[in-house]
C-alpha cells in the first residue's frame, strides 16, 4: 500500500493508468477514479497466485489422461463437483495421481469447512446422481466412479476418512469408501464394524504419494472406533448442465 501522496504525485503512474484514452466511461483523469483503477488492477498478490501448483497439476493430469480411461472415471461433472471444496479438491488431485504440492495448493485456508468437505468427499462420488449431460455409462452402481483406492488415491481417501472419523462416521455406502474397504481386504460379508477396522488398519499402512504404498490385508483391530450405524451424509451437490464447453463457438473473434 502506497501513500496517497506518492500515488498522486508520481505523474508516471497516472500516465500508466490512463493508457486507454478512448474509454470514455473510465474517467481516469479523475485522480480518485485513477486511484481505484490502480488498486483494482494492481499486481497479483501472493494469495491470488497460491494455487498455481494445483492448477498446473490439474493441467498435467488433463493433458496426460486426455483419452485414457480416467476420462471416463473422472467425468467433468464429478470432478468439478469434487472441486467445490478445497479438501475435496485435494482428494481429487490425489486420486488422479498427483503429488503433495497440488494438495497443499488447493487445500488453502478454509479450516472451517474441513469437516464438511471431508464428509462430502467420502460420500460425493457415490451419491452423486448422474447428470443428464453426463456421458452414459453402464449403470450408476455397476461402474464405480470413485477413485481407485489401491493406487495413489489411497492416501487422499485415507486422509479424508480420518477427518470424517474424527467428527463422526464415514458414509459406508459411498463408492469411495467401498473402494477403500475393498482395498483394505474387506468383503461383502463383513459387517460395518469389521470393515471400519480393516479400513483403519489399511490406512495405517498407506504412505504418502511419492513413496511406495504398502497395503496389507491385515484385519487386526485398529485403533479406530467403528460404527455399526453409519449416518454419513450423502452428497447432494447439484450438477449443472455444462454448456460452456465450446468456447470457440461463442468467442471466436
Amino acid at each position: 500500500m502506497r501513500p496517497l501522496t506518492a500515488l498522486l504525485s508520481v505523474k508516471n503512474l497516472l500516465r500508466a493508468v490512463t493508457w486507454d484514452r478512448r474509454a470514455q466511461d473510465l474517467d481516469l483523469q479523475d485522480p480518485r477514479v485513477a486511484l481505484l483503477h490502480s488498486a483494482l488492477t494492481a499486481s497479483a498478490t501472493a494469495d491470488e497466485l497460491s494455487g498455481e501448483d494445483g492448477a498446473v497439476a490439474l493441467f498435467r493430469t488433463s493433458s496426460a489422461r486426455h483419452s485414457s480411461a480416467a476420462r471416463r472415471l473422472w467425468r467433468p461433472a464429478v470432478l468439478s463437483t469434487l472441486l467445490t471444496t478445497k479438501l475435496a479438491a485435494a482428494v481429487a488431485v490425489g486420486a488422479v495421481g498427483l503429488g503433495g504440492a497440488a494438495t497443499v495448493a488447493y487445500t488453502g485456508s478454509l479450516p472451517d469447512t474441513l469437516q464438511n468437505a471431508a464428509h462430502d468427499t467420502i460420500g460425493a462420488p457415490a451419491a452423486h446422481p448422474a447428470s443428464p449431460s453426463a456421458k452414459p455409462r453402464a449403470t450408476p452402481t455397476a461402474t464405480p466412479v470413485g477413485p481407485d483406492a489401491t493406487g495413489s488415491a489411497a492416501y487422499g481417501l485415507c486422509t479424508a476418512f480420518d477427518k470424517v472419523r474424527t467428527h463422526g462416521k464415514a458414509d459406508e455406502k459411498s463408492i469411495a469408501y467401498r473402494n477403500l474397504a475393498t482395498a483394505a481386504g474387506a468383503t461383502a460379508t463383513d459387517d460395518a464394524a469389521t470393515t471400519a477396522v480393516k479400513v483403519t488398519a489399511y490406512c495405517a499402512t498407506v504412505a504418502k504419494p511419492g513413496s511406495t504404498p504398502s497395503p496389507t490385508e491385515s484385519s487386526s483391530p485398529g485403533h479406530g472406533k467403528p460404527s455399526s450405524h453409519p449416518t454419513g451424509k450423502p452428497a447432494t451437490l447439484p450438477t449443472h448442465h455444462d454448456n460452456t464447453s465450446n468456447p470457440s463457438s461463442t468467442h471466436r473473434p
Binding site: 466511461d25 473510465l26 479523475d30 477514479v33 483503477h37 494455487g51 492448477a55 467433468p76 455444462d242 468456447p247
Partner: protein
C-alpha cells in the same frame, strides 16, 4: 495482460506445455478471483477452482485473442457463480435498480485513501448495485470493452458505459469525502471545530 506474446503462450499451452499454462493461469487467476470476489464474495476461490477445471478441459478448443480469452474465463466463472446461486447469497436483499442509491457499505465510510489496496477497492466496488459492480469489475479488472461486457451480461454497450461511469464516480465521491477531510487522528486531536 500477457500482451503481444499471448497467442504464442496460448498455442504452447494448447500443445501441453505446463510453463505456458502456468503463465496463462498467473495472468488469469487474479483477474478471476477479483471478479468473483465482487460477484460471489467468499465463494470466489471455490468458483475459480471449478472454473479452471472447465477451462483446462476446453483449452485445446479455444480460439481467439487475449480479450476473447479473458471473456471466456469470465463467462465460465460467471455461469458457475450464477448457477450455484452464489450471486444471490452475496446480494441477499432486494435488488437495487440501476441509479438507486445503495446503502452505504460497511467499509465505504472508513476507507482512507492511504489504505486503498486491491482488497479494499474490491470491497468498495461490491457496495455498488450488483449490475454496476459487475460492469465496473469486468471493465476495469478484466479489461473488457463495453461491447464485450454487454454481451457477457446481456446488456448494451451504452448501458455498460453508463453503469461503469456512474459506479466509478460514486466510489470516487466516497473516496473524496475521505480525502477532503484531514486524517482521522488529526481531526480528532483538533476537536470538532476546524
Amino acid at each position: 495482460m500477457i500482451g503481444k506474446d499471448f497467442l504464442r503462450v496460448l498455442g504452447t499451452a494448447q500443445r501441453g506445455d505446463e510453463q505456458a499454462f502456468a503463465q496463462l493461469w498467473r495472468d488469469g487467476n487474479p483477474m478471476l478471483l477479483r471478479y468473483l470476489r465482487v460477484l460471489a464474495g467468499d465463494a470466489a476461490e471455490d468458483i475459480a477452482a471449478e472454473s479452471w477445471v472447465h477451462v483446462v478441459r476446453g483449452l485445446k478448443d479455444f480460439r481467439g485473442d487475449e480479450r476473447a480469452w479473458r471473456a471466456w474465463l469470465v463467462t465460465v466463472a460467471r455461469r458457475r457463480a450464477v448457477d450455484a446461486g452464489r450471486q444471490r447469497q452475496r446480494h441477499p436483499t432486494v435488488p437495487l435498480e440501476e441509479g438507486d442509491e445503495p446503502p452505504p457499505g460497511p467499509d465505504a465510510a472508513t476507507v482512507a485513501l492511504e489504505r486503498l489496496d486491491t482488497a479494499r477497492a474490491l470491497e468498495l466496488v461490491a457496495t455498488l448495485p450488483p449490475q454496476q459492480a459487475e460492469a465496473v469489475v469486468l471493465r476495469v479488472v478484466a479489461g473488457l470493452e463495453p461491447a464485450e461486457v454487454a454481451k457477457l451480461v446481456g446488456s448494451t454497450p451504452g448501458a455498460i458505459r453508463v453503469s461503469v461511469h456512474r459506479g466509478l464516480k460514486r466510489l470516487a465521491a466516497q473516496l473524496a469525502e475521505q480525502h477532503e477531510g484531514q486524517p482521522d487522528e488529526q481531526r480528532e486531536e483538533r476537536g470538532v471545530t476546524p
